[in-house]
C-alpha cells in the first residue's frame, strides 16, 4: 500500500532523513518510533505531499507522490503533529469544509459528518467554535477530519500526546477499530502504545532506520542473552559464587538484599535452555530452596533505548 524507497531530505545543508526505505501492506498498522528530532514528522510530511524529498521515491496506493500528488492525497487521511485547525470555525463548519474539499458527495455529506463525529466522540460539541475546545477535543476533531472520506491510508503523527489517560484509551480504541480495514502509520514516542496497536515497528534514529520488525521479534530477537530472575534460600555469598560456576551463565548480580527472607539474583545467561536446566539442578543438588525462577523479557523500551543509544555512541 505504501512503498518508500531511499528517501532522503535535506533542510538546506542539514540532513533530516537519509535513505529511509520501508513498505506497509494493506491493513497493516506500522509503528514509527524515534526520539525527538529523528525525522518522523519530516518523513510523514513527504508521504503526505506536503513537501518533496531531496531524493528517493514514495508510492501510496500505487500513485507516486511527486507525479500524482492529488491522487495520493485522496487516499490519505492525515493528522499532523500539533493538530493545526481553523479555530474560527465551528466543529461542524470545519468538517463540512474539509468534506467538500475531500469530495464527499453533497447528498451523503451530512450523514458522513455525523458518522465521523459520532466515531470520534465530538457529536456534542458540533456547534462550538474550535477555539473554545480543549486540546483533547481538538485532537479528536483533527482525527475526524482525517476520516471524512474514509481513506484507505491513515497517517497519524503523535495522535495521543497531551490527552488524559481516559482519552488516550479512547483514541487507541478507535485506532484499533480502524486497523485491519485501513493501513495505518502511527508516529509516536509512547512505546506501550506501539506494543498494543502495531503489527510492525520501525525505529528511526538521526534520520536513518535502525530496526524494523514485529514488536515481539524486536524484544526477543535482538537480545543476545536472556535475563533471569532467581530467588534462592541459602547463604548469599556461597550461592552467588556457585551460580557463577554454572556453564552458560554470563553474569550474576545480587539484588539489593531484602530486610528479611531469601536473597534475589539477576542473571544473564546465554540463549540455550541448557543453562536454566543446569541452574535448577545445581540449586536442588546443593539443598538450597529454589523459590522463584523467571525470565525477564526486555521491554520494547529497553530495545529502543539500546538501539538509539548505541547509535548515538557510534
Amino acid at each position: 500500500m505504501i512503498e518508500v524507497e531511499g528517501l532522503t531530505k535535506y533542510y538546506g545543508p542539514s540532513r533530516a532523513i537519509e535513505n529511509v526505505t520501508f513498505s506497509v501492506n494493506r491493513g497493516e498498522v506500522l509503528g514509527f518510533l524515534g526520539p525527538n528530532g529523528s525525522g518522523k514528522t519530516t518523513t510523514m510530511r513527504i508521504l503526505t505531499c506536503f513537501m518533496p524529498a531531496t531524493r528517493g521515491s514514495v508510492r501510496v496506493a500505487g500513485h507516486d507522490v511527486f507525479r500524482n500528488p492529488l491522487e495520493v492525497k485522496k487516499n490519505i487521511g492525515y493528522l499532523p503533529e500539533n493538530v493545526p485547525l481553523y479555530t474560527d470555525m465551528t466543529v461542524r463548519g470545519f468538517l463540512n469544509f474539509f468534506a467538500e474539499i475531500k469530495g464527499v458527495e453533497k447528498g451523503t455529506r451530512k450523514a458522513r459528518i455525523d458518522e465521523v463525529m459520532a466515531n470520534c466522540g465530538v457529536e456534542d460539541v458540533g456547534d462550538k467554535l474550535i477555539s473554545k475546545l480543549s486540546k483533547g477535543y481538538r485532537q479528536r476533531v483533527g482525527l475526524a477530519q482525517a476520516l471524512l472520506n474514509n481513506p484507505p491510508v491513515l497517517i497519524l503523527d503523535e495522535p495521543t500526546t497531551g490527552l488524559d489517560p481516559r482519552q488516550i484509551i479512547e483514541i487507541r480504541e478507535l485506532i484499533r477499530r480502524l486497523s485491519g480495514e485501513k493501513t495505518v502509520i502511527l508516529c509516536t514516542h509512547i512505546l506501550p502504545e506501539v506494543e498494543m496497536l502495531c503489527g510492525r515497528v520501525l525505529i528511526i534514529n538521526e534520520g536513518t532506520v535502525v530496526a524494523e520488525d514485529t514488536p515481539e521479534n524486536l524484544t526477543t530477537g535482538l537480545q543476545r542473552s536472556h535475563r533471569i530472575h532467581l530467588q534462592v534460600e541459602g547463604p548469599a555469598a556461597e550461592v552467588a559464587a556457585s551460580l557463577e560456576e554454572v556453564p552458560g551463565v554470563l553474569r550474576v548480580k545480587q539484588s539489593s538484599p531484602p530486610s528479611s527472607g531469601p536473597h534475589s539474583y539477576d542473571l544473564e545467561v546465554d540463549k540455550s535452555d541448557e543453562a536454566r536446566k543446569a541452574l535448577a539442578r545445581m540449586i536442588v543438588n546443593r539443598g538450597w530452596g529454589l523459590l522463584e525462577m523467571r525470565t525477564i523479557d526486555l521491554s520494547l523500551e529497553d530495545v529502543f533505548v539500546k538501539l538509539v543509544t548505541t547509535e548515538n555512541g557510534g
Partner: protein, 256 residues
C-alpha cells in the same frame, strides 16, 4: 477548480468572523466620507460665490470639482487599507500550521490561491460599492456625469486587483502578518511615488518610471479616459504577482 468555491466561502467568512473586514470598511468609509463632505462643502461655497462672478461659474463642474479629487484620494487611502486585508491570507495559515492541513488535502495550489484572492477581491468590491453611496447621494441635489465616475470605479477595481495581488504575494513569503502588512505597504507606496522623479530621470528612465507608476495609470481613469494600456498595466501586474505567489507556494515546499 472544484475546490475554488469552498476556499472562497471559507476565506470570505473568516474576513467577517474576525472583524477585520468591518474595521477596514468603517475606517475607509469614515475617511472617504470626510473627504467627500469637505469636497462638497468647498464646492458649494464656490457655487455661491459664482452667483456674483460669472467667470468662476464657467469652470464649475461637480464631477471635476468633487469626484475626481475624491477618487484620486481613495487610491491613496487604499495604499493604507489594502495591506490590512491581504496580510492574513497566507501568513496566518503558515503561522498556525493550518497550511499543512490544507495542502495535504486533495487540493491544488492554484485553487487555494485563486479562492483566497477572489475572497479578498469580494471584500474589496463590497467596499467600493459602499462608496457608490456618495455619487448616488449627489444625484439628489446635482447632476454629476456618469462617464468619469464609472471609469473611476473601473480604475479603482483594477488598481485594487493589482494591490491585492501584491499583498497576496508578500503574505505568501512570510509567516508574520505585521511584516506582510508593512512590506506590502512599502511596495504600494513605492509604486505610487515612483513617477515623482520621472521629470529629471532622463528620457528612457523617465518613461519607464512613468509606466511603472500605479498613480500615472490611474490618472486617466479619474479623468474619464479608459485606455487599454492602463487596463493592461493593472492586469499584467496582478497576473504577474499571482504567478509569483504560485511559485512561492511551491518553492516554500521545496525548502520545507
Amino acid at each position: 477548480m472544484r475546490n475554488f468555491l469552498p476556499i472562497f466561502k471559507k476565506e470570505l467568512a473568516s474576513y467577517f468572523t474576525s472583524p477585520i473586514a468591518y474595521i477596514v470598511y468603517c475606517m475607509f468609509l469614515i475617511i472617504v466620507g470626510y473627504l467627500f463632505y469637505s469636497g462638497i462643502s468647498f464646492f458649494s461655497i464656490l457655487s455661491f460665490q459664482s452667483l456674483n462672478n460669472p467667470n468662476l461659474a464657467q469652470g464649475l463642474n461637480v464631477t471635476e470639482g468633487v469626484f475626481r479629487p475624491l477618487y484620486l484620494n481613495m487610491g491613496v487611502i487604499l495604499l493604507l487599507m489594502m495591506p490590512l486585508l491581504t496580510m492574513r491570507l497566507f501568513a496566518e495559515e503558515k503561522k498556525s500550521g493550518t497550511i499543512e492541513l490544507l495542502l495535504t488535502n486533495p487540493i491544488r495550489d492554484v485553487e487555494v490561491l485563486l479562492g483566497k484572492y477572489a475572497a479578498c477581491m469580494a471584500v474589496y468590491l463590497v467596499m467600493l460599492l459602499l462608496t457608490a453611496l456618495f455619487p448616488a447621494f449627489t444625484t439628489l441635489v446635482g447632476s454629476p456625469e456618469a462617464g468619469p465616475i464609472l471609469s473611476s470605479y473601473l480604475g479603482l477595481l483594477l488598481l485594487g486587483a493589482s494591490f491585492i495581488a501584491i499583498g497576496t504575494l508578500v503574505s505568501s513569503l512570510t509567516e508574520n502578518q505585521i511584516i506582510a502588512a508593512a512590506v506590502t505597504f512599502g511596495i504600494l507606496l513605492l509604486l505610487w511615488v515612483i513617477s515623482w522623479s520621472a521629470s529629471f530621470a532622463g528620457p528612457t528612465w523617465g518613461t519607464l518610471l512613468l509606466h511603472l507608476s500605479a498613480t500615472e495609470h490611474f490618472q486617466n481613469f479619474a479623468k474619464g479616459v479608459v485606455d487599454t494600456q492602463d487596463v493592461i498595466y493593472y492586469l499584467n501586474l496582478s497576473v504577474f504577482c499571482l504567478f509569483l505567489t504560485l511559485r512561492s507556494l511551491e518553492s516554500k515546499r521545496w525548502r520545507g
